[in-house]
Amino acid sequence: MTKVTMTVNGKAVSKEVAGNTLMTEFLRDELRLTGTHVGCDTSQCGACVIHVNGQSVKACTMFAAEATGAEVTTIEGMANADGSLSVLQQAFQDHHGLQCGFCTPGMVMTAAKLLEENPKPTEHEVRDYLEGNICRCTGYHNIVKAIMAASGQDVSSIAAE
């Protein structure tokens, strides 16, 4: 067993876990933060994306022990302090950027990182950046639109709603 200590969504946490505990298992089973989802076993789908020390990471591909001392943010830590939806989350709701919701946490985490790096991405840049996140419901149409809207761009002229 390994002692793992980190900060998750601003709260210090410390747990004794097996050395091979994946970050997804640590978040979901130990911390009961079940918003981070597991959709594949080959690091392809991106449903498990979280932020570790400011970098977006697929939590299924890192051990919890690797995050020792890290600042971790999950989907549960993305809303505003008063619990209301952040600008990005609100844009996903406003533009119907989600259906079943399973890929959504990973999409939001990836998109947040994109907007941090590139505050006004083009359609092509958004699509390119989502390369590691699969959605089966939306055809990406409204996800791309939501992300562009969250960046303050006018999306009203994009195809049909």
């Binding site: 392809q44 259906q99 989502l130 089966r136």
Partner: protein, 786 residues
């Protein structure tokens, strides 16, 4: 101004808040006290005789509670098939057994033959690896044609061959033959509808629990239809009566058909939990999902079209091989028959239509419904065939379609269904405008100047949704009714819980359904909640598939709400000392017609539960009504789709430049949600046409069993879509006039893509008749080389 309330409003989805904040409750998020973990041991060969299974070492490993094999399920029923198809010679289809865990033989890669239950997942995995099975590998039947050849390996030893049924439907052979003999032109096309894997992003999960105190089992599962699972598993597999079995399908991360069916893993965890008196949980890995979720499509077809000298369609004849896989999944047998053959007339006035389907057992994963289920296969064949005919005849493919469109309704086709309403001309007009068909040749010239080949593909589609009239499907072999149900419970203070048989796994029922009830009662949607997914809370409904939720369950909800209104008017009439016939309900206010005497919604609901001044001699207290709704016909959404592509002749790479969809869904409750459904359907259809393919090698090994091998469409593969649903011919036989929108995109889009690529290639003397999906650069490039 667009509406912001009631039917027709693009209300933002209320369920989004929990999904966007990580508060969704999917099955894998549920853990029960004392929970154990289950790992299945699955066959790594396509076909083999189980000689022995030695679990002795595994049984002694830490944390192992019990190891199960097929022997433990002797005396337990097998997984049932819900639809009996009758062969053209009158015999029932072959229906071999489908044990929960394989007995005697394994029949596909992924077929489970043992299962470990242990205290932790790690312990279960370790023990599963320690199980030693002696499986004597047998020659597999993989390719359908080879599986039907004499001397082919038998998937099921108790059958004489691998033919499940040989089905014929529609116009009689003599009439069809005569039409072909008299034809001025015959177009023939052979094609493959590629095998797909539905791939909802949430893998399947099953958690079985057992309460010894009241002998009650609970199954939490990733299902589109919890009552169907309770019925099938309780009555046919485990023998648990309904009142001792609860099935809960909480938030479900996409279904697309593959979460309709009753799976072995569900029966296993429920069975094991009873044996061990402990909760048992199974969570599928993605690799496991590829080899255990029912696959979709997988048809090989020859289709022929006869035309007279004026290019009128005179006959259609099809001959299809449909893969069933190794076992009959829940609705597998109905997909290539009643959900496929009945749509073979398409949007056209063709007097003779005959459909022939042979269903084949192979050593592959079972094949069942996947988004569209039979209707995409029908549409693809027909719309590819009409395009080919137009090219052969040298006529415009849209003009040929328009000339043969059905234009008067109702229209009874030669394949049993009666289209109640539609306007195929209107959707085609709209489509041509959306895609700027007139401007296409200029765009083609512009691409040519850059060395690229530009193509425009157009097609139409018709589907049958709102599944289904029970008396009709009963005659066709369905072993279930296909009504749905809703209970509207009005609470004392006027808030409402609506318990529905439909299940929402991305469709937004929690938002759209209250819009209907709110419109009828004139109250705010925020007072109404939808309850779904728990058999102990909801009435017996058949769930969500076949674009049926609003058309069937929504109609039940309307009927139940009408009952509520009738009773509430009686209560209001008593309170206002007027006849209930004189009471009008508007904006949540009951008024005596022509007066200013009124009582509010909340006053009436309170009176129903605190009946101090109440007509107790005439009506019961309380305000709760249930309705079951059985549709009198299918609904027939239709539309026209177009895709514009550019092909790089050097590499064969296809880029989708534009995509337009003009659909007629009848009336629409929430346009935003409807458009989202079309986007997602198109993405799956484009995925089938361009990227996706489930591939077995000649040994029956599944080569495409991960997201690194099976090409899922990603954001970069798709454009923004132009979608429109302004052409409205309301359904004539359900109270909302709705038709269903969930599958249209996946049905209408594959032929548009392929037609577009062939339009691009057939220039400058190059002749390419057809390319099978997916249109990989290699296939396109090879086709161009002749």
């Amino acid at each position: 101004m667009p509406k912001d309330h009631g039917i027709g409003a693009s209300q933002k989805r209320r369920e989004d808040v929990r999904f966007l904040t990580g508060a969704g409750q999917y099955t894998d998020d549920i853990n029960v006290y004392g929970q154990t973990y289950c790992v299945f041991v699955r066959s790594d060969v396509a076909h083999g005789k189980i000689v022995s299974i030695d679990a002795s070492a595994a049984e002694a490993m830490p944390g192992v509670l019990r190891i199960f094999t097929g022997k433990d399920f002797e005396g337990v029923g097998g997984l049932p098939c819900g639809w009996l198809i009758t062969d053209k010679n009158g015999d029932p289809m072959k229906e071999p057994g489908h044990p929960v865990l394989a007995i005697g033989k394994v029949r596909h890669v992924g077929d489970p033959y043992a299962a470990v239950v242990a205290e932790t997942l790690q312990e279960a995995r370790d023990a599963a690896e320690a199980i030693v099975a002696d499986i004597e590998e047998l020659d597999p039947a993989v390719d359908m044609k080879a599986a039907l050849a004499s001397g082919a390996p038998l998937v099921h030893d108790d059958l004489t061959d691998n033919l499940c049924y040989d089905w014929q439907f529609g116009t009689d052979t003599e009439t069809v033959d005569a039409a072909f003999a008299a034809a001025a032109h015959v177009t023939t096309l052979e094609l493959v509808n590629n095998r797909l894997v539905a791939n909802p992003m949430e893998p399947r999960v099953a958690l079985g629990d057992y309460a010894r105190a009241n002998d009650e089992s609970t199954l939490y599962t990733t299902s589109q239809n919890p009552h169907v699972i309770r019925l099938l598993m309780g009555a046919f597999v485990l023998g648990i009566p309904e009142h001792k079995l609860k099935v809960v399908a909480p938030d479900v991360g996409g279904g697309f058909g593959t979460k309709i069916f009753h799976y072995a893993e569900e029966a296993f965890v429920t069975f094991a939990a009873r044996k061990l008196n402990r909760p048992v949980k199974w969570t599928s890995t993605r690799s496991e999902a590829f080899m255990s979720d029912a696959h979709g499509r997988d048809h090989v077809t020859k289709i022929e079209l006869a035309l007279d000298a004026d290019n009128n369609f005179t006959a259609i004849r099809t001959d299809t091989l449909a893969n069933m896989g190794a076992y009959l999944s829940t609705f597998s047998s109905s997909i290539p028959t009643w959900l496929h053959g009945t749509l073979m007339a398409g949007n056209y006035r063709t007097p003779a239509v005959q459909v022939n389907v042979k269903a084949v057992f192979t050593n592959t994963v079972p094949v069942d419904a996947y988004r569209g289920a039979g209707r995409p296969e029908a549409t693809f064949q027909l719309e590819r065939l009409v395009d080919k005919a137009a090219r052969e005849l040298g006529v415009d493919p849209v003009a040929l379609r328009r000339q043969n469109f059905i234009t008067s309704f109702p229209y009874a086709t030669p394949v049993a269904v009666e289209y109640d309403t539609g306007n195929y001309v209107a959707t085609m007009d709209k489509l041509e405008e959306m895609i700027d068909r007139k401007g296409f040749e200029a765009r083609r010239a512009e691409s040519k100047a850059r060395g690229k080949l530009r193509g425009l593909g157009v097609n139409c589609y018709i589907e049958a949704c709102g599944i289904a009239p029970s008396n009709l499907v009963g005659q066709l072999g369905a072993r279930a009714g296909l009504y749905d149900a809703a209970t509207v419970r009005v609470n004392a203070t006027g808030s409402i819980s609506v318990m529905v048989g439909a299940h929402s796994h991305g469709q937004g029922h929690e938002t759209a359904f209250p819009q209907v009830v709110a419109e009828m009662l004139g109250i705010d949607e925020s007072m109404i909640d939808i309850v779904h997914g728990d058999t102990s809370k909801i009435p017996f409904g058949m769930g969500t598939y076949g674009s049926r939720s609003l058309a069937v369950c929504g109609s039940a909800m309307v009927r139940a709400t009408e009952k509520i209104i009738n009773k509430a008017k009686k209560i209001a009439g008593h309170m206002l000392e007027a006849s209930d016939a004189d009471i009008e309900l508007k904006d949540g206010q009951f008024t005596v017609a022509g007066t200013d005497k009124s009582v509010a919604w909340g006053d009436v609901t309170l009176a129903a539960y605190v009946p101090h001044n109440y007509p107790l001699e005439d009506i019961e207290p309380g305000l709760e009504e249930t309705a079951f709704y059985d549709p009198s016909n299918f609904t027939y959404p239709s539309g026209a789709y177009a895709c514009e592509v550019e092909v790089d002749p050097e590499t064969g790479r296809v880029e989708i430049l534009d995509f337009a969809a003009a659909d007629d869904f009848g009336n629409v409750v929430n346009p935003m949600i409807v458009e989202g459904q079309v986007h997602g359907g198109i993405a799956q259809g484009v995925g089938q046409a361009m990227l996706e393919s489930c591939i077995y090698d000649e040994n029956g090994q599944l080569l495409s069993a991960s997201y690194m091998d099976y090409a899922m469409p990603r954001a970069e593969d798709l454009p923004f879509f132009k979608v429109d649903h302004s052409c409205v011919t309301p359904c004539t036989h359900n109270p909302l006039g709705v038709k269903g929108c969930g599958e249209a995109g996946a049905i209408g889009s594959p032929p548009a893509v392929v037609n577009a690529v062939l339009d691009a290639l057939n220039v400058g003397g190059i002749k390419v008749d057809h390319i099978d999906m997916p249109l990989s650069p290699h296939r396109v490039w090879a086709a161009m080389q002749g």
